[in-house]
Subunit: 152 residues, 2 copies
DNA sequence: AGTTTATTGCAAGTAATTCGCATTTAGATT
DNA sequence: AATCTAAATGCGAATTACTTGCAATAAACT
């Protein structure tokens, strides 16, 4: 394949998607590249069903769910809790960001720069039974401007 | 119908449980007092099924789920994402605390004192589409000491 | 090209949550 | 205390979310 220019964080090109999989010991199948492609080009967390919809053609759920598990175990994606009754996922982003979620309409906005990482050590020091923190999840639930206009 | 969250101090005795419900415009039935009782005396987040188990007698799921929704809408309980495939809930606690969750065995430890609240304003300032934050969720996922001993 | 092994697709299975509706009950009203 | 009414319950069925077993397929290594 052609050598691709160096990309900014998390702008995975096709080659990099392959590498991502290989590094994780995962085979790079057409489906998998397509799934990662969808996630890459969507800027908000996706549910498995949403991924299937975006893939266009009918796609087997089991395949998605199994793949998601592997991605998650390898830290390639992370799980986001939007408080719908199903999980959402997004590509792991080194620029740690979190989400503002509207409790009425579900609108999502990214918020960036939250120095939780700095708190890790303090938390570990105070923890009795834990020796390692691998990830965290931080979501803010509120009311978006639009919903704020219309009385509840 | 559903109202705005009401955050009441959490020093519940039986009488206060009644008041809690009344303030929320909810009828104080025997079942409801029992459910709140279970949540009060358990120090970790519970799933609807766990609540049913603890209630002893056979208990209708629909009743629990419906009640939980109302409690949540009123800010009496909050939802915790332990990344099992179902939601967990705990009584809302003004002493804001969060959870360390073991990614292997699911063990939970509380961590307290995380000054996220102070970040609310900063976050709102930087937010484009949000005018109000009502709650947040912060969970840390890691490996507990016990699981840390045994190699993965 | 051939072999190995991970991955897929399908169909069935389980778990989690919701809904509709007839019945009951808490709490306000008389 | 008896009555009234809206809210809550119980039940069964429905829906949604996710998982599993297994035979067929395709990636990656030789």
């Amino acid at each position: 394949m052609d050598r691709m220019p160096i990309q900014v964080k998390n702008t995975f090109n096709p080659v990099e998607l392959r590498g991502l999989l290989r590094t994780g010991g995962l085979k790079a199948t057409r489906s998998r590249l397509a799934i990662l492609g969808v996630m890459r080009r969507t800027k908000h967390p996706l549910s498995p069903q949403e991924i299937i919809e975006r893939l266009g053609k009918s796609f087997d759920q089991a395949t998605i769910y199994r793949f998601i598990k592997k991605l998650q175990a390898r830290g390639i994606i992370r799980q986001i809790d939007l408080r719908h009754n199903h999980a959402h996922y997004e590509l792991f982003d080194l620029n740690d960001h979190h989400h503002l979620i509207c409790m009425r309409c579900g609108r999502i906005e990214d918020v960036s720069g939250c120095e939780i990482e700095d708190a890790y050590n303090a938390i570990l020091r105070s923890a009795k039974d834990f020796s390692e923190i691998r990830q965290h999840s931080l979501e803010f639930y509120g009311i978006c401007r639009n919903c704020g206009k219309h009385k509840a």
